[in-house]
Amino acid sequence: MKVLLEWFEGRSGFFAWLGRVYASTRGCGGTNCLFLAAIATAFVLQALSGFFLWMQYSPSAQTAWESVYYLQNHVAGGWLLRAIHHYSAHVLLAVLILYILQQIYVRSCRPPRELVFWSAVGLALCALAAILTGDLLCWDQNGYAATKTRVGFLTFIPWVGEYLFRIAIGGVGPGLGHLTLTHFFAWHIGLFAAGFFLLLVIHALLMRRVEAAAMNSLSPEPRYFRAWLPAAACLIISVIVLGAACRHGFQPPEAGVELLSPADVDPANQYAAARPEWFLVGLYELSHLPGLRERPFLSIFIIPGVVLGIILAMPFLARSKAGHLFNLLFTTLALIGVIVLSCYSLAKDRADTEHQRAIAVERQIAGRAGKLIRRLGIPPTGALSLLRNDPWVEGRRLFAMHCASCHSHVSFPMNDSGLAERSTVRNFHDVPSASPSAPNLWNFAGRDWLKGLLDPKRIGGPDYFGNTKFRSGKMADFVKETLADLEADEHAALEKVVRALSAEAGLPEQSALEAQETAFIAEGRQLLAREFGCTDCHKFHDKGALGTAPDLTGYGSREWLTGIIRDPGHRRFYGENNDRMPAYAPSNADAQHTLSAHQIELLVDWLRGEWYEEENSNK
């Protein structure tokens, strides 16, 4: 063993070098040392966790989110690994910013330390770029939306913007894809992480050089008594990162860093609540100020560019007293500006119910993705295709896009003006219409919905025919004249009719009840056709005829709903009396349809509340 060591030492001089390095560390303990120790610690956390993440990650539009989901939920310690990488990145940048501020404030950036200062600024820029490129890699709705916006800024650059944009995303856009991920992944590691390491070494060597020179000329007070401080700083950094990583507990999916649902390239489904990272919130708000809003190139490139230029010039300015004063003033004002803008922005978001709702909705969709994956697994086409084929998610979106221009779908009664107050929206499936002019379809054909329809006070209201031409139609007249002032036994009869008609829909929510009430429902059917005279206008099984009012046979069933969405002007539904509802698939020629057969299926299932639910939530 000893022979081996001697042989190695004789050829490499490694231990002698180690000894020199160790000797040179004695007595260190200044503020610079403290900062460098903290930076090195955060970087070691970054590099090690990053290397292990690299082994678990697969950059492509169908596998990026999926591999991260797998890591987060199925790999032992995977959530912790992600969280360590995430939080140490932010701690690293925070420490670097403090480091630069310290050099400005105590004037230690002045010559001959220009290169030391500049390399510190370079480190901060590298860390920032690594965070921004890393943000996209998990390919969830937030990273996607934020990156798409940021990369889009490139197009504001005159002349070359469009070319830079295409190169950055590896395609023609507007959506990001496979090559955006591979580009960003390579830059994240090969350019910014590796560049950071190189700069850190250069920075440390430069620092060592100037400090040694300063020692010869000044012989400062020995600061050795604080030598344990940098080591303690390392420990504190690691503990902070670990604490942050564990702040949401130890049980995935909640533990560690949140993973939203997989990125959707469809701009209609883009996450509306994406916000920049903490260090860019100020700039974000700045670019939204009146005056700057119309000049994005100025606020996003020129202003930060000028600020960076001034920061880089600070070592020279710091030479004179006046210059140092300018540095202090400028830095302080800029800091105050950034902090004020950031706080303003955060407060604005907190008070913005639309923003909060967009976040809540996206979190629900992320949870839904987990449920679907637990049941079906992730198909080769990626997790997004699960969401696209799920009535719970896609039915709601289709309704919002194609139906909510007239219909609302809200769990609460609408007010007199017919507008649903947006602050009352609380259910995921509430989709208020901006200008409702057709019935609220919440629980359509369900017992409560039908009871409301047959209520003289409500049929002319905003939840039913209030905003349609049927407000003073035959049905409304019938309900108001015949069903007002009912006796107790008549009320009971009406209840039976409601249950019988609702049973036509075969709603999953009511199936258990209906199985128990078969006699009750059979009686209701008789009443509907005879005593109540519904079949004078409506067809109901073998009674009545088509042509005057919608068919009540199978009212609200999948088949019935599919039919009315395809063509409400068909004589089985409203015929020539159809108010304004468009026909979404009137013929059999798919190419002419507004909605495909599959989309109508999803929409109908959603309206009927037919979707997969886990037997019992697993916690």
């Binding site: 007595g27 956390l45 020995p222 050795y224 390392c234």
Partner: protein, 192 residues
């Protein structure tokens, strides 16, 4: 990496006495914090790397491969594809070909052989000739007779062809317990 930190800032070398006074405590704190910083991500990462060791492999499952009518009466082998759902890390694939099995009649029994050569995992072929057919491996020319026995005493293959358990269900359905086996060993050891 961690050496860079302290080495860069040799602010001042203390007098000899000072060095020993504070040396031990500082070194202790430095050692602890370096260890913690390095071990925290490393252990977490290695845990993830070792994840496959926790997973259960696919134990052999019976799959329906053919009906008796499909198998030639004269004992000529029939190569039946195995169609099964499989998963790869996060992806669940719908049923697709995952392997194949040679089926042949031997009297009133049905024999099933794994098509994977026990030597290096190449796919075995079947070759008919006037003297009677044989299985052979295209990679290293190992040959097997129709009962799966090695024809050459100096064969590259360490063992005879791997037989699979067969069950005839519902009168004429051939069900086979599909398994793969470790390569290159004299014993037949199922992969779990």
């Amino acid at each position: 990496m961690s050496q860079i930190t302290p080495s860069c800032c040799s602010c001042s070398l203390p007098p000899e006495g000072g060095a020993s006074r504070r040396g031990f405590f500082a070194t202790l704190v430095a050692a602890c914090s370096t260890l913690f910083t390095v071990l925290l991500p490393s252990i977490t990462g290695v845990l993830g790397l070792l994840n496959p060791l926790r997973q259960k492999g696919g134990a052999g499952r019976f799959v329906r491969l053919a009906t008796l009518e499909l198998l030639p009466e004269d004992g000529t082998p029939y190569k039946a594809p195995v169609i099964a759902a499989r998963s790869d890390a996060w992806t669940s694939y719908p049923p697709e070909p995952v392997g194949a099995v040679f089926l042949r009649r031997a009297g009133d029994r049905v024999l099933a052989f794994q098509v994977i050569c026990p030597h290096a995992g190449c796919s075995l072929g079947y070759e008919s000739s006037p003297q009677g057919g044989r299985f052979f491996c295209p990679c290293h020319a190992a040959g097997f007779d129709l009962d799966g026995r090695r024809t050459d005493p100096s064969s590259f293959s360490p063992r005879d062809m791997d037989t699979l358990e067969v069950e005839i269900r519902n009168g004429n359905e051939v069900w086979v317990k599909y398994e793969t086996f470790r390569l290159g060993t004299a014993q037949k050891i199922a992969q779990r």
